[in-house]
């Protein structure tokens, strides 16, 4: 039981990650997907930073007691390595978000919508038109095509 008390906060991070992952898979709106991706990634950052925490620790910046400058550095300090990794990861995550949003603006211009299911329908219409223009069709193929509509990868 004490062991569970020690690790239950990891479970909250898992919950946050899963909320984000749910948003990415379930929501058709592209901006929601981009935001949810960010949520998913923040859950992972929580994992990293939580492994850096030490009981009674403090921020990993050295300081000495002004009253007694000769003594050794005060501590214990938290572990700085995960902090460094997450700094990098946060910046990378926002860069990916920026590119995603630029793509979404372009999609809005090209398709007129940012709902993934409507875009999927338009994509399939494009592919059908391309299929018709490019195939060596005979009557049987054409009939099959009329029925095959939405069956793609």
């Amino acid at each position: 039981m004490t062991h569970v008390l020690g690790i239950y906060n990891y479970w909250i991070y898992v919950l946050l990650m899963m909320i984000g992952l749910y948003g990415v898979i379930a929501k058709p709106n592209l901006i929601k997907q981009a935001i949810a991706l960010g949520l998913f990634q923040t859950g992972i950052f929580l994992y990293y930073i939580s492994m850096a925490v030490i009981d009674d620790g403090t921020a990993p910046v050295w300081f000495v007691d002004p009253q007694d400058p000769g003594q050794k550095f005060m501590g214990p300090y938290d572990n700085p390595l995960p902090h460094v990794l997450i700094l990098t990861a946060i910046v990378v995550s926002v860069s990916v978000l920026a590119v995603a949003l630029a793509l979404i603006i372009n999609i809005r211009r090209a398709y007129g919508t940012i709902e993934a299911d409507q875009i999927e329908v338009m994509d399939q219409q494009d592919r059908l038109a391309e299929f018709r223009a490019g195939a060596t069709l005979d009557a049987a193929d054409a009939a099959e095509l009329a029925g095959v509509g939405g069956h793609h990868d």
């Binding site: 949520l39 923040t42 214990p76 910046v91 978000l97």
Partner: protein, 404 residues
């Protein structure tokens, strides 16, 4: 009960509620504002966990830049999400339940939250924390270790307390270990060597003996810019790439004679006056954060974002035409690349001076520790320049579009 865990729990409950709200709210503008709130709460969580640099970055980048990006996108896309029929997406729920269960299964063998005996605190990090990595193997070109520094005594500190019982189920020793009371992260030997001067020629004040001559108390910066400086260089490249990609994807060729669009708010007296007074301080603060990153929480990323925010505020109130008089777009483009070149140029300079790539100790032969510190300052500036200019560029791209 550990105070950190308690506050952590309260904050995380708020964070979880906000996360669910972000996903479920239909109005996208509300969703974006909640994302900003979410980032602020996360910054508080980081502060609670004593990770100041990360908190600063999350607040600036997550709360500031992400919100600007998202609002800029909303202007060109949509305000509301289309209503969907099914309230709950069962397939997604199944996938997330399975993934979540797998992750929770994996947490059972993790060291508990705050455990000072976790492998990561003992294995390689103590030397990085104490900033004596260059001593550990006697690496050529780095600082020579001081008198009395016994590498053997140092390296025998492999994280095992003498009396750990062999029985893995007997864990009582974790509660009463001598090491837990002694501040284990900074090993004992440092207290002896740290204040012995390396050299005391006239005019040169005695430094503690470490890789950077005591110039870098913030060990997060020492890791970021020196030990793992190569990662940071690529991180700066990622930002640069994002900036270039946005220009490539969004920039429309400017038609001749088209005036700079942008509705300035100069007629709002309060905003105008406050902005005029604040912008110089914001820019100065940003510069301070970049320069001071070695001594306290801060650094290139955080400072760069603050500088960008100063310029963006100016552009919002006085119009982008005014901003382009100060910083024309070609200058912004050039400065974007300049930051990355400054970083990699510092590394290349070290290469040309005879050392390995990014071996800053080559920059100052007489006192390698000072060279290391100089190198770190240079690269932090490189990072700051690129970050601020890319963020400004992204704002300009998003603001320049005709709203649809």
């Amino acid at each position: 009960m550990n105070a950190v865990v308690l506050i952590d729990t309260l904050l995380l409950i708020l964070v979880t509620i906000t996360a669910v709200a972000i996903i479920e709210v239909r109005n996208l503008y509300a969703s974006v504002m909640l994302t900003s709130v979410y980032s602020l709460l996360m910054a508080l969580v980081w502060v609670n966990m004593h990770s100041m640099d990360v908190a600063f970055t999350e607040a600036a980048v997550g709360g500031g830049i992400s919100t600007i990006l998202l609002i800029g996108t909303l202007v060109h896309t949509a305000r509301e999400e289309r209503p969907i029929k099914a309230r709950v997406h069962w397939k997604a729920l199944l996938v997330t339940a399975v993934t979540g269960a797998a992750l929770i299964y994996g947490t059972f063998d993790m060291p508990r939250f705050g455990d000072p005996h976790a492998p990561i605190h003992h294995f390689r990090v103590p030397e990085m924390m104490a900033q004596t990595v260059g001593f550990a193997n006697g690496t050529k070109g780095k600082q020579a270790p001081p008198e009395g520094f016994d590498a053997r005594e140092y390296r025998s500190f492999n994280g095992r307390v003498a009396d750990i019982p062999d029985d893995p189920t007997d864990t009582a020793w974790r509660e009463t270990s001598v090491l837990a009371q002694d501040g284990i992260i900074v090993p004992k030997v440092i207290g002896h060597a740290a204040h012995a001067p390396v050299h005391d020629d006239a005019g040169h004040h005695p430094h503690p003996a470490d890789d950077f001559n005591g110039h870098v108390p913030n060990s997060v910066t020492s890791l970021l810019a020196a030990y793992r400086g190569y990662d940071t260089m690529f991180e700066t490249t990622v930002i640069f790439t994002a900036g270039i990609s946005l220009i490539m994807l969004l920039r429309r060729p400017r038609r001749q004679g088209e005036a700079q669009v942008g509705a300035p708010m100069v007629d709002q007296a309060v905003l105008r006056v406050v902005t005029k007074m604040s912008v110089p301080f914001i820019l100065l603060f940003g510069l301070y954060v970049i320069t001071h990153g070695e001594l306290g929480p801060g650094g290139g990323f955080q400072g760069g974002v603050v500088i960008a925010c100063g310029f963006i505020l100016y552009a919002l109130i006085f119009g982008r035409a005014a901003l382009y008089r100060v910083l024309p777009p070609p200058v912004i483009d050039v400065l974007t690349g300049l930051g990355v070149l400054l970083y990699s140029g510092t590394g290349a300079a070290c290469l040309l001076l005879g050392g390995q790539f990014l071996d800053y100790s080559m920059l100052n032969r007489l006192s390698p520790g000072d060279g290391e510190s100089l190198g770190m300052t240079l690269v932090e500036y490189g990072v700051g320049i690129t970050v601020s200019m890319v963020m400004l560029n992204i704002f300009n791209q998003l603001a320049e579009e005709q709203p649809t």
